[in-house]
Symmetry: C2
Subunit: 418 residues, 2 copies
């Protein structure tokens, strides 16, 4: 399809879908426990149909019995977001096995005016993957094939279906001597299609940049069932408009991502991790700039918590211990370097830390001595939002917000907290 | 403007504009000296109006006398592409000084159905910046203000007008201790707006990725004069659709980019360059993968020429000499590392080169001993397409194509030449 026409159609055909989804999300926000703007009641849009027995029968002809889920337990899980903050009342969960099935489902839902909500690993923190009312849930979890990995011409381009679990892709690439350009605490459950649709940043954004840079191509199905093939594998394709970027971060509102082509960097052998404490926010910012300059290309992560976040993690989460002496500091930083020379990388990081302590930027710090210690450092960062108990037990929503803000900061957004 | 509606309007309002520009480009290609598909004659689309004295008067009321150029010499330069391959016959060159003027020009041209062609530094190699017939040329070269550079919160975000010359931005950032994430042979003339509109890759793509990753925001004017403000400075903004990506690489066909916000990395002190020779293409590919693994994060450029390209450069371009002994090799590679530790980086590159020679991947090679030698290595790469004489004098267009293909390869596209 000629690309600008495709864009035009994409936005026309998806408008109803988009408005439905956006409306759902906004509604969800307003129902959210931790939403602080004026609450308003949102009613189900009467323009959307309700599921009829005929719809069920039709979906069974497309997906078979197993692909049409009406079981109460399964529906309950699919209706609830990962933090237990939002709950929908969908009566139907569809599990397509390939792009064609996704296309047939959407085409039919569009013709019947049935609202849908795309769902991947359902690990989102803002309720975008669960229904508000009785939308049809389309979960692409069964689409989990790795289609190709190109190491012959050393491009490191991985092409896979949207339902692939991030951790499985990481393991697959590890065996090939490559890594995924993104990593998340939710890697064990989240799916690459969802990562792309939400433009997940994750722990490697500082080093490998955003998905707009590393996703080379996509296949997506529009609301009317049209399959948009943008599954290129070139690092630079300037033919026509680069429509795939509209789908990166659009939360499924323009269509459902079904296949992903992503550029993966080679795995480097030498990894070093330090956990530091700073007394003020300005020092954290200066430390980041210094790290970028002094650690050059080996800096692979710079993560950030404030003392409230740290206290909450230590108080409420099992198996988390403070690597530093138990005095209270205002801010904590995790620094990771990834390079190709064990000896030099370690010396380089040690010299940087020594200089940072001497210059007063860092109040205290410790360097991981082995892989277990390294994992325990990362564990602190990864579990911040990984434990529902943490959210539920949090006495102060403000603290949670700060955790999330800090989390954004670690993604390189540099939000001004003051 | 609510973003998805903006996208819808963008594509609707720009359709006429887009079709005009695309049609022009395709026409240009078919007229191009080095285009080998079946030639077809393309006639001016009669739907477009011709410029009248009233139009000129109107433009003068917007831009003043100086912004409305009808001088034959200036028009001749603006009608001709940088390689002298394509020539238009525009009678009018407009030079707006700000976004509002661009908006007024486009709104008027749209209402009068006057075809336009946006022009930046006019350094493109495919004639995209010159008219085919009598389109109005809109050159943003007078919009050259640096609007802000944020180093206070260490984000390194530069915001500037589209007409800023790339080399001027590089110099500005150099004084601030930062660098542009892209660098081109044409840096002395090309403009950042044009770089973004053509999604220029350049010499630093390998290290800093594509503009889809480093451009944080844009301001653009649509064909109907609507100003689309997408000039964000956050590294990750998932609110609504990321429309700016439609403008990156769309060659001005959706609108004219007027402002750019771009993420710039800190400048690193240690730079080392080597010029190598390989006997076969597979070795070049293996060498790239090895470089990515062994040089880790300090690898900043990996450039490629084949023997034909090298011979043409040595034969036709002044001040270019072969750094290697004058025996003929099939392929040549330029490798650059950029890091923060002079001693280690040099040792690391030397060790890598030694290993590559021993393993037979590299036939011969030399390491730049000083800044002059480094510049002379880069000169070979940069002048490939910088000298019109080179193109004109090329006896074999096939060779030129191969040069361009190789150029693409160096951009990390890994085109299969076989």
């Amino acid at each position: 399809m000629e690309k600008w026409r495709a864009a035009d159609r994409l936005l026309k055909f998806s408008s109803r879908f988009a408005s439905a989804v956006n409306w759902n999300n906004s509604c969800k926000s307003k129902q959210g426990k931790y939403f602080y703007s004026v609450a308003t009641t949102v009613h189900r849009n009467p323009l959307f149909s309700s599921i009829s027995p005929d719809d069920i029968s039709y979906f069974k002809t497309i997906l078979g019995e197993r692909g049409v889920v009406q079981d109460a337990l399964a529906l309950d899980a699919a209706n609830t977001d990962w933090m237990g903050k939002y709950r929908g009342s969908s009566k139907l969960l569809l599990q397509p096995k390939n792009t064609e099935e996704v296309s047939q489902i959407l085409k039919y839902c569009n013709s019947r005016c049935l609202a849908v909500v795309p769902q991947g690993g359902n690990t989102g923190l803002v309720g975008g993957s669960v229904p508000v009312f009785d939308e049809v849930i389309i979960n692409v979890g069964l689409m989990r094939n790795i289609l190709s990995f190109d190491k012959v011409i050393v491009s490191g381009v991985l092409v896979c279906e949207a339902g692939c679990i991030l951790e499985n892709l990481i393991s697959f690439l590890d065996d090939e001597g490559f890594i995924m350009p993104l990593d998340l605490g939710a890697k064990g459950s989240c799916q690459i299609g969802g990562n792309v649709s939400t433009n997940a940043g994750g722990l490697r954004l500082l080093r490998y940049g955003s998905l707009h840079g590393s996703v080379l191509g996509l296949e997506a199905v529009l609301a009317n069932g049209t399959v948009l093939d943008m599954l290129g594998t070139l690092r630079k394709d300037n033919t026509g408009y680069d429509l795939k970027h509209l789908f990166i971060g659009s939360e499924g509102s323009l269509g459902i991502v079904t296949k992903v082509s992503i550029l993966t960097p080679p795995k480097l052998s030498s990894v070093n991790i330090a956990f530091l404490a700073c007394e003020d926010y300005t020092s954290c910012q200066k430390l980041l700039l210094e790290a970028k300059k002094k650690l050059g290309g080996i800096l692979s992560a710079f993560e950030f918590l404030d003392s409230d976040a740290m206290s909450l993690v230590l108080k409420h989460l099992d198996g988390v211990r403070n690597p530093l002496p138990p005095s209270i500091h205002n801010f904590y930083i995790l620094i990771e370097t990834t390079g190709s020379n064990e000896t030099f990388d370690k010396e380089n990081l040690e010299a940087f830390l020594l200089h940072s302590v001497e210059s007063g930027l860092v109040a205290n710090g410790v360097l991981a001595q082995d892989i277990n210690q390294a994992s325990s450092f990362w564990h602190i960062r990864e579990v911040i939002t990984m434990h529902p108990h943490f959210v539920v037990s949090s006495k102060s929503p403000i603290l949670l917000w700060r955790v999330l803000w800090n989390w954004e900061l670690t993604l390189g957004v540099y939000l001004k907290l003051s």
